[in-house]
Amino acid sequence: MIIYGVALLSICTLLGLLIGDFLGAAIGVKANVGGVGFAMILLLVVSEHLKGTGRFIQPSSQGVAFWTAMYIPIVVAMAAQQNVLGAIKGGPMAIIAGVLATVVCFALIPVIDRIGRSERLLEEQKLAHKSQGETA
């Protein structure tokens, strides 16, 4: 049933947000720390487990798929309620600070991307080397 998928998604989201609030309170931050992230991991683990054991059938997954498809419209609705006027009204300093922070970080993405990649390649090479040694 479609509602099973929707309910699973709701339970994962609520639990994740709860963990995020707990974590925020534990480290003394007035914010939800990674709640959505925990919820996503929960959904991934649970749905992979259910699919693996053949208990998450097509109609149930439609309950999740619908919300995935609604994602872009929801983002459009979110964009339509941003304080765009406030951002522009903040004056040149706020605009320059925002723009520069964005541009600098954006430009560095390929660099950071490469760091993670090269480390992983090294690890993989090491592993490959090791297993080769073992077979030899």
Partner: protein, 257 residues
């Protein structure tokens, strides 16, 4: 005649969420139409829809003087529910269904490195701009620096270290500029930074951080990448709130005295 109008408005306001579905649906249709006709698909329909949303938010702000974009129009208050935190988080989590744990694990290191780099770098750039504009005290510099992290980290940091409300407003403005720019700019530059795979999406989420910006941007670039960027960006604001009023503020104070 006025009576009919009243009745119509009454129905639309009473069923706010349904009005929002209709309005957003029509906006999407117009965007995809314009995308295909005017840009021949070069500018993706969803990117255009997000820009239209932001434009409408601007118009809403000008016309009503409120802070919530179109939501300040009584007729469109349902958009607030549709694009609010609850349904937004719900929809973001649902995108994880299409992702795989193995992909997430593969990009772990890059994601974590990008989180710390993104927060510290944004703060440093914002702080430097504040200093260039003549601020000399650690509280003002840190508040504006934190605003450049995200528009949530700015006010939280400012409130914690005792900044004035004007400064907090400035820090929110800096964060909003970042969020809007990430949403609008990313689709144009995605191919230059190789933003077409889960790993880069995770680094992107960690470097830019602003959840609304990242998720809007990835929705326009490739919906399949949303869960990976969302995964890191969701930790970004938390990390910023943690580091802003503490480590970063202390470092700033040590630097400017």
């Amino acid at each position: 005649m006025t009576n009919t109008m009243d009745l119509l408005i009454n129905v639309l306001v009473k069923n706010g969420l349904l009005t929002a579905f209709a309005v957003v649906g029509i906006t999407m249709w117009v965007s995809y139409f314009l995308s295909a006709r005017l840009t021949r698909g070069h500018l993706h329909g969803s990117a255009l829809a997000i820009m239209l949303g932001l434009l409408m938010a601007y118009i809403g702000g000008v016309m009503t003087g409120g802070k919530n974009g179109v939501v300040d129009f009584k007729l469109l208050s349902g958009v607030g529910l549709m694009g609010g935190a609850m349904l937004r988080d719900f929809a973001i989590v649902s995108t994880a269904y299409g992702a795989t744990l193995t992909d997430m694990r593969k990009c772990g290191v890059g994601g974590i490195v990008s989180l710390f780099t993104g927060v510290v770098l944004s703060f440093a750039v914002g702080a430097a701009v504040a200093m260039a504009f003549g601020y000399t005290d650690a509280v003002s510099i840190s508040t504006i620096g934190a605003g450049a992290v995200t528009y949530i980290v700015g006010p939280i940091t400012g409130a914690a270290i005792g900044a004035s409300s004007e400064l907090i407003a400035l820090s929110i403005a800096a964060g909003l500029v970042k969020s809007v720019l990430v949403m609008v700019g990313t689709p144009f530059f995605a191919k230059y930074i190789g933003l077409d795979n889960p790993r880069t999406a995770m680094v992107f989420g960690g470097m830019m951080g602003t959840t609304s910006g990242v998720c809007g941007a990835l929705a326009a670039v490739d919906t399949k990448l949303v869960p990976y960027g969302a995964m890191t960006s969701t930790f970004y604001t938390g990390l910023g709130c943690l580091m802003g009023p503490s480590v970063l503020f202390f470092a700033t104070r040590a630097l400017v005295g």
